[in-house]
Amino acid sequence: MNEVAPDTLNPKIGRAPGWQGIVADWSSDQRAFENVSWGKAMMWIFLLSDTFIFGTFLISYMTGRMSTTVPWPNPSEVFALEIGGHHLPLILIAIMTFVLISSSGTMAMAVNFAYRRDRKKTAILMLLTAVLGAAFVGMQAFEWSKLIAEGVRPWGNPWGAEQFGSSFFMITGFHGTHVTIGVIFLIIVARKVWRGDFDDGRRGFFTSRRGHYEIVEITGLYWHFVDLVWVFIFALFYLW
């Protein structure tokens, strides 16, 4: 009845350290991910596939940018804002970066409290993460509106290489979609945590196994990945 990890049932299949462990894991049938739950493994596989999609987007952006003979618009200036009479280059993107990193911090803490079964703190931290994520999407909407008003289109812009617009809308748009989906996912799981679905085994998505708070960690994996992708977009698109 109780769910016991296989390695506690059979102490012989423990985790061996180093290369011995890898060889042991991969050379034996059905043991590679022995104490990794299916949910976590599936999320990792999804994130791996997502890595390749974002990877190809960034590589095609790099190819377009390196091969064009027309000067690339200067991102530092394109994303500058006038605040209180000061001209601040790239400030909006910097703020967005800090907001997203903070959301990753609150999410990591939510996962920790979930394993301590502190329902209230977990739900509050997850909702805080969702609020920060929503703020990020809001700032991105502002950024998009501003650029569209200034005449940036997927096929052209006022400052230089035409590929700038298509790369920008494609990469940040795909990332923003991920953040939006993440916010929805966070709110759904936070509600379940708050209501205690994982303790009373209420029927529904991910809640049927009593006392199983792993979905919070899986949600966290997705959320940290969204932040992780932003680290690369920030460096390669905005700072280049």
Binding site: T51, G105, L239
Partner: protein
């Protein structure tokens, strides 16, 4: 309760660890921003941007995504495929340099 027991060895870390990582991510992001703010250029700019990027990514994956505590078989299954992307990046760098060269040779200079 068995679930709790199976997770105690890998998932119970002091909150302080997460706060420290959070702080480092803040500092590294600030450094990234300052690279642009002070208008550094050339190889210095590039190496700093890539170093800060790699450190941030490493911290997020290792601590926030708990990779540091997963078994190695899983870690390698996840980390090796993205590393292979670097080969793809290298191929496309060659490709785009060649495209740029032909464009300069036949379209810009010839026009």
């Amino acid at each position: 309760m068995a679930q709790l027991a199976t997770h105690t060895d890998t998932q119970q870390h002091p909150i302080r660890l997460y706060l420290v990582v959070w702080g480092w991510l803040f500092i590294l992001s600030l450094c990234s921003y300052l690279v642009d703010f002070f208008g550094l250029v050339g190889y210095l700019r590039w190496s700093l941007i890539l170093i800060f990027m790699a450190l941030k990514a490493g911290l997020i994956i290792a601590v926030f995504m708990h990779m540091a505590w997963e078994r190695l078989a899983l870690s390698y299954a996840i980390l090796v495929p993205p590393l292979v992307l670097l080969v793809f990046v290298g191929i496309m760098v060659f490709e785009s340099n060649y495209t740029l060269f032909t464009r300069l040779a036949f379209f810009v200079a010839g026009s």
